[in-house]
């Protein structure tokens, strides 16, 4: 985790005119988490005064291979080149922060980890031999040690600012690891599961989005990933036994943007949440469930 005095703070104190070097790099992802940084509105220019952005391909032609005081990493590792590059990047920084579900959990593309990657490739590309990619899409932490992570798909701008602020100030970043339900109740959102019959992953998902989906009348689909000690099995059992949902439908609920993180991963595997090529997920007939 982040050291007591963050390297960022140390870099600042070393000379007040020296700004810590910030890098933003991307692997297999949609760019949404980097865009969250560009979308910071009021804080963006203020942040550029406190950090020297030395590498951020989407925003600047200034490039740097390192070293960095802080490196934000978006995206999952999906090719052999990426697997090598992340190892090189790890050596370039004392503080590697993964941002977003692709980097922290493998992302939606990690669903292919349940299938055969060659089938995937052939299904999409007419000449699959032209594409060099790994059989798995994996989170950064499967390859190198990670110092901090921002969850979400995309990450929450408030949490991004909190992380960067904590680096400047030297305090522990306030990224609570609790269920979405706490935030729902604080903001007076009516529980879509209890009152609406929606399947909702909120109780087992980490907060951070502000309880967005329930506030907008639909169930949480877990894009911030499982929270600490998430009892996914208990929720899955309730959805099947009490609410009568088909196992495959419950499996698909967990087969989302953070499917590859435990305990969601085990639920997907056990309940059959991912379709094999040409085969319906879980096999057998499944109930219509428009609210899944």
């Amino acid at each position: 985790m982040i050291e007591r005095v963050s390297p960022v703070r140390r870099a600042r104190e070393a000379g007040s005119s020296i700004r810590p070097r910030l890098g933003v790099v991307k692997f297999a992802s949609c760019d949404g988490c980097q865009l969250t940084l560009l979308d910071l509105e009021d804080e963006f220019l203020a942040l550029t005064e406190r950090f020297e952005i030395v590498e951020f391909a989407e925003a600047t032609t200034n490039r740097s291979d390192g070293p960095y005081d802080v490196l934000l990493v978006e995206g999952s590792i999906s090719t052999p080149e990426q697997a090598e590059e992340i190892v090189r990047l790890r050596r370039q920084t004392p503080l590697l922060v993964t941002i977003g579900a692709c980097a922290t959990a493998g992302g939606i593309q990690a669903l292919r980890n349940w299938g055969d990657e060659t089938d995937f490739r052939a299904a999409v590309y007419a000449h699959p031999e032209y594409i060099e990619s790994l059989a798995f899409a994996t989170p950064i932490s499967d390859h190198v040690a990670v110092d901090a992570e921002l969850r979400g798909c995309p990450i929450d701008p408030g949490q991004l600012v909190e992380l960067l602020t904590s680096l400047i100030v030297g305090r522990r970043p306030q990224l609570p690891d609790e269920s979405v339900c706490l935030e729902c109740k604080r903001r007076n959102a009516v529980c879509v599961a209890v009152a609406g019959g929606f399947a909702c992953l909120g109780p087992v998902t980490r907060t951070g989005c502000g309880a967005l989906c329930p506030a907008y009348g639909r169930g949480c689909y877990g894009c911030f990933g499982p929270r600490e000690q998430a009892n996914a099995r208990g929720l899955a059992r309730h959805l099947q036994v009490v609410e009568g949902r088909a196992p495959a439908d419950v499996g698909r609920l967990f087969a989302g943007f953070t499917a590859y993180s435990e305990p969601f991963r085990s639920m997907v595997t056990e309940l059959g949440g991912v379709a094999a090529p040409g085969v319906a997920p879980g096999g057998g007939p499944a109930r219509e469930s428009h609210d899944a």
């Binding site: 979308d39 999409v124 032209y130 907008y216 698909r252 428009h290």
Partner: protein
Amino acid sequence: MHDTLIPAGLDAVFDVPMVTRVEGEGSLRLRVRNGVVEEARLAIFEAPRYFEKLVVGRTPDEVIDIVARICGICPIAYQMSAVHAFEDLFGVEIDPEVRRLRRLLYCGEWIESHALHVYLLHLPDFLGYPSAVELARDHRPAVEQALLLKRTGNRLVKLLGGRPIHPISVRVGGFSRVPRRSELEALRPELEAAVAQARATLDLVTTLPVPEYEREPRLVSLRHPTEYPFNDGRIVSNDGIDLRPSDWREAFHEEHHEGSNALHARTADGGVYLLGPAARVALAGEQLHSLAAEALRATGLVAHIRRNPYWSIAARAIELIGATAEALDIVDGYRPPAAPAVPWTPRPGVAAWATEAPRGLLFHRYEVDERGRIAAAQIVPPTSQNQGAIEADLVSFAPHVLDLPHDQATIRLEQLIRSYDPCISCATHFLDLSIERR
């Protein structure tokens, strides 16, 4: 057009590392033989994520959530193409107010995307800065204006969709929640200011030094009888194509080229074509919002926008005026619909539709099985459709820069590429420039 010829006999390789200030990762290699540019190859090395496979077995509402993740800048475009495809197949009639809200949502995305591109990605090229951060040191008001416009677009999307990136409320049949009138009205002052900011943007870009380079590309976009195209319209070109939005495959197809992770789209006869703001302004300009149409007329740039890719920056500014003005109109006329969404049942068959992402026409096609699940999918992003035209333009433009120092050549070529606002994560499918001279 410069008539600078490369010295005869010059063979060279140009290698420029990843093109920056585009969305995603790609490289360009130019091959020059005997002073003639033979080939420009765009190699997308953005890692593939196989979305068309990931949606197999999922329900339509799950597909809407998933395809947003194809792109962080234009997630709504993906959600719109998908949701309209399903509603077309299932015979769902959405409430007219819901339809207006969808246009409003698209306005928000266009505002955010165009403001991002014009100011943060493209403008630095014209004024000689490596990024908007350095640009801000000398032109802070301009960058602040950009951030305000972007914020307005994001706030619109956030109100309707829950959050600006990967919205959560789009559902088959409508939305999971619709805003209260008071919530939309609260955005009114900001939208009014945004119209003025959009106008100021157009004023700014018309003063920029724009490289001279012209050609007559084949242009493709949606066109609708009464509205500037977002979610609906026929697929048209400037050479006779005219199709229902679900019939894209009748005139176009995809090919896979070696060295690229992206599929290239071509017309039936193997030709390249261009989508995006310039195409829309050229083909659907008559349906521009009156404020935008008037502003366009005043610039006198109609022909230039069609012929010179660098002038796409003005096309985006025009569309900014249109989107902000239309957003204001929609807000003023809004009455909440009777229900946020209408009920629907799936039908088996082919669901296909095209909508206009900020970068151009985006086509989705899904085969739906008897249980209402996806059996196969085809998603054709605008950038993969533009790739062929971009490469062709690079081939014809490159001679003008080969005699420049490598750095400057790179800048000019990257500036050209940025004119198309490529969204490489979408195409998977930008830019390492390498020029092979042999």
